[in-house]
Symmetry: C2
Subunit: 192 residues, 2 copies
């Protein structure tokens, strides 16, 4: 049998629905411009395949596409070509189902879904364990929730769940921009 | 001799002057609201002593203080007390000299200054090496440059210099929000 080298096939989804608000209700959150920029740049740094921005709201999809176009075809791309390279990784999608279908079309395989949260979720997996799994050649999809995090219904559907990022203070309220950067570094960074 | 436990005494400075612009000129950059929020939250997570926002520009100092007051005394603090806890770590300073004086006043010791950059700087120190040094009980000050990074003159004054964050793609253009989160995690995070 032919030996085959499998690079990591990791995609990232920034979920704006279904997520929780402060009171625990399920909502669709608004886009934050810098989420797109920062997570695209982190994704590019760590070799992420695609950075999916997931929102069911039509006006938010238009807004996301306008931001992306500014950097791909507009003034932004000429002013800062490095930003263009990162923004090229973004795909705007209306639902998580559409994201999964997109990965299935590319790989003919259902991605393994990995949830993240600032909360402790029973049965969560360690960073080193997930790091080793990522090299099995399957497509993986890492989910980040905006607002107060992914809904419980969504959490119940994932294959793996990463434990919260522990600092040393017990404070656990990182921005999604910072948390996603740290998690990608823990999973894919060369600590040299 | 009495044995004494020294916790890590690390402060962070976000430098808006002297930094480089795209063309390599030394400038004073403008504040970015989310830099303050994100780096304050990361600082709180990893037990940073003080998060210094350094700008010599009077109007920018006023702007920074207005953002901070909104979260400490205004509506923000009531709406989101966790954010208040993070923003409390911020001190606005006119120069790096004022930052050093502030630390000297608290500790009666000159802080050891650690530079960061997306560029390779000769003689840079590894993350694990700096991690072990941090426990020597001395105050450390970690410098992050905005815009296109810390000026060469400033870089020549630091005691240590951290190498750039290597991902796996060769792309090396993280936001200062993401880079600072990753560096604090590498230095102080419990990877569990």
């Amino acid at each position: 049998m032919e030996e085959k080298y499998f690079a990591v096939d990791l995609s990232v989804a920034l979920v704006h629905h279904p997520v929780l608000n402060k009171h625990g209700d399920t909502i669709a959150s608004a886009l934050t411009n810098l989420d797109l920029h920062d997570i695209a740049r982190s994704s590019k740094t760590y070799g992420v395949n695609t950075f999916y921005v997931v929102t069911p709201l039509g006006d938010q999809q238009v807004l996301a596409k306008r931001i992306i176009d500014h950097w791909l075809d507009g003034f932004g791309g000429k002013y800062n070509p490095h930003r263009k390279e990162a923004v090229e990784l973004i795909k705007v999608m209306g639902s998580l189902k559409a994201v999964v279908d997109d990965i299935r079309q590319r790989r003919e395989k259902h991605p393994k879904m990995v949830g993240t949260s600032a909360k402790n979720v029973p049965g969560s997996i360690g960073y080193d364990k997930l790091k080793s799994l990522l090299f099995d050649g399957d497509p993986y999809l890492l989910l980040f929730g905006t607002a107060w995090g992914l809904s419980d219904e969504l959490i119940s559907q994932v294959d793996y769940f990463l434990g919260p990022i522990s600092g040393i203070s017990g404070y656990n309220h990182l921005s999604v921009r910072s948390a996603s950067a740290i998690i990608l570094d823990r999973l894919l960074g060369r600590n040299d």
